[in-house]
């Protein structure tokens, strides 16, 4: 077990994560009922306020705190206990992120920031909302630097050695995150905050959007890479085998540093201010992430096959039945991976230049991110939660918890299948996203969207209700394993951190030379962004004043 003080930091991060999850999923439940006119809100509450809270609390806050809880535990486990400085800065990072979260959430709840988690200018929220967001980012940087510091101490004491795979992947994710955040920090600090407090009169809208999406796309890889870490280093252990290929795992991770950032324009394909050439160039770069994704898929299936055969599976697919399906830690992640297959395919469609016009800002997109971040990532985190909390608290993961865990994963899958299928189909028909109930004055086109077997007002509501029930079961498991389950005293009851062995004997050393990857990443970013952004700034129209349209 790792040091008590390190466990405490991790547990606080996870605790905040699940508080955000609780409020966020409650918002989700309200949304599905408001969208089909089954629920009237009191005058002081508005659909868009709730939706902003849902996006911020689940996509930004739940993920971020959970990821740091996971990183802190894994870094302490694989590199040894934190020193006093690392601990101090991990705590400071935690509190700053939390302070920012509370500020931003207070602004949303008090109705001063119904601007969605994308906060597009010139919608103008209270200045304190942007300060809150800035603190969230700065807090994650402090926590990140604490972990980098811990890693550097280890490297100094282990000259010439490659770091353990978990640490390598954590550092990769952190490097990508810090480079990615530069965009959002620039726009929030230099554009939004001065404008929201009235120090400047206007804002350059297209520039703020471009800086946001410079950050917005790698943001999704910041969610995804920790899930991939669980796939690469946790899953093999659960199956009783080694990591399939250490060098391949590292290679696929560094490719994500290169190809997750210079691609933000694929979120801006249908807007003015960026010429087709630059849009298309970034579309091409976007597709490069397919390469590490294919590598990951190959490694996963190779791991499954090796494990299944080791357990006596015969024939071409016999190994499949020999996987530990009764182990909820494994089954959860396996289902999460299955959801990622249509999720990834949908992503290819979204980024396909012309096809984007068909789906941009329709409910299809909402369906898409619920089967990428909302399930593959979130469900991997759930699967990790089942052992991570008991590991940190030293409590048992009892039989009844295992059963509840299974129920939770199955209900989440069913709920998500219903809700996201309905959303995908409705989006293809043309139904817009981010909308409260509307029939566009009983327009026949809008009536057409909603009269299919799956594309009606009910499917999404049923799916959403099942999802919420599942979320509450998870919250119950979290509370039990955090505070109430019996302590594990005997060795057989102790919950372990399942960290697989990884054979580094064939891994080339240059893979851990970060300057190569940072340098290449910056070069690609310059290639993709320098000219179009310069043009955007030099040919900027008069800026926009702020509007509060809610």
């Amino acid at each position: 077990m790792i040091a008590l003080q390190d466990r405490k930091i991790a547990l606080w991060n996870i605790g905040v994560a699940y508080t955000a999850f609780l409020i966020g999923t409650l918002c989700g439940l309200l949304q599905v009922f408001i969208r089909n006119d089954a629920l009237q809100l009191p005058a002081w509450l508005d659909y868009y306020q709730i939706l902003t809270a849902h996006g911020v609390l689940l996509a930004l806050i739940y993920t971020t705190f959970f990821i740091f809880g996971f990183f802190i535990t894994g870094m302490s486990k694989s590199l040894g206990s934190f020193g006093p400085k690392v601990r101090l800065f991990s705590w400071i990072g935690f509190w700053v992120t939390l302070l920012g979260t509370v500020m931003a959430t207070a602004m949303i709840i008090s109705g001063q920031a119904s601007v969605m988690y994308t906060f597009y200018a010139p919608l103008k929220a209270s200045g304190f909302f942007y300060v809150g967001l800035a603190l969230v980012i700065i807090g994650t940087w402090i926590s990140s630097f604490a972990l980098v510091g811990h890693y550097r101490v280890w490297r100094k004491n282990h000259k010439g050695q490659l770091s353990p795979l978990f640490a390598f992947m954590t550092i990769t994710t952190i490097i990508m995150w810090i480079i990615a955040c530069l965009g959002v920090v620039a726009t929030v600090l230099f554009q939004y905050i001065p404008w929201a407090f009235g120090w400047t009169d206007t804002i350059d809208v297209e520039l703020s959007r471009s800086l946001f999406w410079y950050f917005g796309h790698p943001l999704v890889y910041f969610w995804l890479l920790p899930a991939y870490m669980a796939w690469y280093v946790i899953v093999p252990k659960l199956l009783g085998v080694k990591v399939f290929s250490d060098s391949l795992a590292r290679m696929s991770f560094v490719l994500f540093i290169l190809f997750s950032i210079p691609v933000g324009f694929h979120h801006q394909l249908t807007e003015p201010g960026i010429s087709n050439f630059w849009k298309f160039l970034q579309v091409v770069l976007t597709f490069m992430v397919i390469v590490p994704s294919l590598m990951t898929a190959f490694s996963m299936f190779a791991t499954f096959e090796i494990a299944g055969r080791k357990n006596g599976g015969k024939g071409l697919f016999g190994w499949f039945t020999k996987l530990p399906w009764k182990d909820i830690r494994f089954t959860s992640i396996f289902i999460a991976m299955l959801f990622f297959i249509p999720g990834g395919a949908g992503g290819i469609i979204n980024a396909s230049f012309q096809l984007n016009e068909v789906v941009h800002n329709t409910l299809w997109i909402v369906g898409h991110f619920h089967i990428t971040v909302g399930t593959p990532v979130a469900m991997t985190f759930m699967g990790v939660t089942f052992w991570l909390i008991p590991y940190l608290t030293g409590r048992k993961f009892t039989k009844s918890m295992k059963v509840l865990g299974l129920v939770q994963i199955i209900t989440w899958s069913i709920g998500m299948l219903l809700m996201s299928t309905a959303q995908h189909l409705l989006g293809l028909l043309g139904a817009p996203r981010r909308t409260a109930y509307s029939s566009y004055n009983n327009h026949p086109s809008s009536a057409e969207w909603f009269d299919g077997i799956l594309t009606n007002h009910v499917t999404m509501a049923i799916g959403g209700s099942i999802l919420f029930m599942s979320a509450m079961i998870l919250i119950y498991i979290v509370i039990m394993t955090m505070f109430l389950s019996p302590k594990a005293v005997e060795a057989k009851d102790m919950v372990d951190f399942p960290l697989a062995e990884s054979d580094m004997s064939n891994t080339p050393k240059w893979l851990e030379n970060w300057w190569i990857w940072i340098g290449l990443a910056l070069a690609l970013i310059a290639l993709a962004y320098a000219i179009p952004l310069t043009h955007m700034i030099q040919h900027a129209p008069p800026g926009s004043e702020g509007f509060k349209t809610w």
């Binding site: 809208v205 087709n276 397919i290 004055n441 809008s446 349209t549 809610w550």
Partner: protein, 157 residues
Amino acid sequence: MHLHKYEKIWLTLGVISLIIFLSVVGVSAFSQNHTPAGGMETIDPKKVNETAPFDNPGVTQLDDDTYQATIVAMAFGYTAPELKVPVGKEVVFKVTSTDVVHSFTIDNTKVNMMVVPGRITTKSYTFEKPGTYLILCNEYCGTGHHMMYTEIEVYEE
């Protein structure tokens, strides 16, 4: 770095299909002009109503086969009197906003344009079927976002 034989096959096939796919998309975009909405023109967002062509929004005929539809988006509606265009003719849509970001999206077509204040978004489209089409805003723009809509009539000549 050692790669398994099957992995080499898998990655090679993956990369080849990637190249084919991107070439198809690229050729269709740049040689057949299948590009999404966009445009590099700018405008002062406070002076939209005084700036041509938005001082006189609506449909104008440019030549025998081309029409231009000029639309101003604002919270929560569109200023575009008499949106009527003929079937089978190219219509060039030009849209801008006087306040926040909106979209100009025509149901059942590929017209799906982001409307950004300070910028003019352009998209050319040819309707194949007559009828009345729903136009809506699919970018969140405020409390009335879900009520922001209008219609365009496509008539047979």
